[in-house]
């Protein structure tokens, strides 16, 4: 049976309202300060380190992202840690919050479809994350310009920009995951705990667990298969995908993200940087994986939401 009327009706209204809610909420302000302060600390440390060590690096600017100075981790590792936290913070009570405030049935009795409400919330969350990430990115570039005094090259800017896009996609995965649980669990606290738990598992535990799982299932002795299996399993975690993409994008000398046979390396000039397009190609499966994961998770929450009873 076909429904009549557009599923997009009211989408813009929902996006604007949610966006203004996000941007004015205390939660958002706390998260932003957390991100800005920690990231700036990391960048500052990186800049002092970069000035000391690698004056001759052709990709000096990219070092800002990846250089760590004990005891602080690098800007990228900070982001891979804090972006999910922000995304989960924005999404964990998206739908169950409406339930608990008893606004859901009232809003849905207006002439809009559920599609518009859910998609509007996702877009607004993603827009909020995009705004904060872009600001952070610009801050970083500006600080780099001021403190290093070296202008970045065109390719460096290209790499940094693609890195920004990938980070947004990475944020989208966690936002979609948080929204899925906000549909599934009626209590916001449960949804937050489950999402955070899953995030910890995927980020901290799964990459360490994957080789053990691979060892258990792949016959001993076949080391190549074991390594490949372990890597494939580890790639189920969005954190792994993000980490690999960053590696390929911000370290131009990265030629592959998986194991290679010696025969494949014949004729390669080790240590020479790849052009940007080749680096993107190396990371392309990971980038597509991140985007696909957010779409899949969104579709799952969409299906769950469509079938849900609206009564409180």
């Amino acid at each position: 049976m076909r429904r009549e009327g557009s599923p997009w009706q009211g989408l813009g209204v929902v996006v604007l309202k949610e966006l203004s809610d996000h941007l004015t909420s205390a939660r958002m302000r706390v998260l932003e300060w957390l991100v800005v302060l920690t990231a700036l600390a990391a960048v500052y440390a990186a800049i002092t380190q970069v000035r000391d060590v690698t004056a001759q690096d052709p990709f000096l600017f990219l070092r800002l992202f990846t250089t760590a100075r004990e005891p602080l981790p690098s800007f990228v590792s900070f982001l891979s840690f804090l972006v999910p936290l922000m995304a989960i913070g924005l999404g964990f009570d998206a739908v169950n919050g409406e339930h608990n405030r008893r606004t859901l049935s009232r809003i849905l009795s207006q002439p809009i479809y559920r599609d518009a409400l859910l998609f509007g919330k996702f877009l607004a969350g993603l827009a909020t994350l995009t705004v904060s990430l872009v600001v952070l990115w610009l801050l970083l570039i500006g600080l780099g310009l001021i403190m290093l005094g070296v202008p970045p090259g065109g390719e460096e800017m290209g790499r940094a920009f693609i890195f920004l896009l990938v980070t947004i996609a990475y944020a989208g995965v966690w936002l979609a995951l948080a929204m899925l649980f906000s549909v599934v669990f009626r209590s916001a606290a449960t949804a937050a705990l489950v999402t955070l738990g899953l995030w910890l598992f995927l980020t901290a535990i799964w990459p360490a667990l994957a080789p053990a799982v691979a060892q258990a299932f792949v016959p001993a002795g076949d080391q190549a298969t074991q390594v490949i299996a372990a890597q494939m399993l580890a790639r189920l975690s969005p954190s792994t995908l993000f980490g690999e993409t960053v590696l390929a994008l911000l370290h131009p000398t990265t030629r592959t993200l998986g194991p290679v046979y010696l025969s494949q390396l014949q004729g390669a000039v080790m240590g020479a940087p790849l052009p940007l397009s080749q680096s993107v190609l190396v990371a392309w499966p990971q980038i597509v994986g991140l985007i696909a994961a957010s779409i899949l998770l969104f579709v799952a929450s969409y299906v769950a939401f469509q079938r849900q009873e609206v009564r409180a």
């Binding site: 429904r3 009706q9 809610d21 002439p111 809009i112 009873e309 609206v310 409180a312």
Partner: protein, 318 residues
Amino acid sequence: MTEIVIEATGLTKRYGAAAAVNGVTFNVAAGEIFGLLGPNGAGKTTTILMLLGLSDISDGTARVFGHDPARDPLAVKRRVGYLPDSVGFYDQLTAADNLHYTARLIGIPAAERQDRILAALDRVGLKDVAEKRVGTFSRGMRQRLGLAEIVMKDARVAILDEPTNGLDPQASIELLELIRSLKAHGVSILLSSHLLERVQSVCDRVALFNAGQIALMGTVPELGRQVLGGGYTVEVEADGGVDVTRRLQALAGVRNAVESGPGHWRLTCERDLRAEAATEVVAAGGRLKQLSLDQPSLENIYTRYFQSARQEEARHAA
């Protein structure tokens, strides 16, 4: 013939094997207040959600202004205003801002929004608190804000789910007054409630729900006749008089006359016999002090109906 605005035919909602609503059929005519009454869990809210297209219909059909809510919910929701059970608003926004959001969702042109919102808030008596956050509102004010939303929407049908639930007597009287004024503006109203007494005063017709089915439907006096039998009860209070009980009992149309206390009589009659009873008391030499007609109360109808239904069941079981 009056226009039918809501039409439900054999409406059924099944959750697995259990039916929450089972073959419900009723019509709401333009300009009337129709009450869905029954205990909690009888299927009233589910019926309402099906009419709004917010819940799938397992069987049967629903039409609201001729539109099928399962197929064309936007057309239905454009014309219908809905006040859910204990309605919620965004607490951090002001009353006016909450309505602004809904107004944009409805698609009211920007030029009209402000005027329509203020007019609606004025009608429900919330104009003074339009710029206050809803977080500070009492339950009664929230319900009124919900009605303001319906007024702003200019809905032709208002569906109100338990509108007086949890309100203090004063607030619920005010709310019922607002509901009557909606009707006076030509809005048809479908309301559900488990508070029979309050609702009786505003409903033109009612349907009594029990376990997912409509047990009784009609106007309150009709139901009274159907269930209580007698229908009218006349209370007489008089001083003196000779043989009053016997004389009242002899009146045509009186089924039963009892002296319920010294100088108090209660007549169960087939029609309104107040005038005849008064003449009779005076003719018997009594001084008539008070005369009143007890409308059949929904409460009585309801209790009596379900008592007999249960006895019936018990008999079947035995």
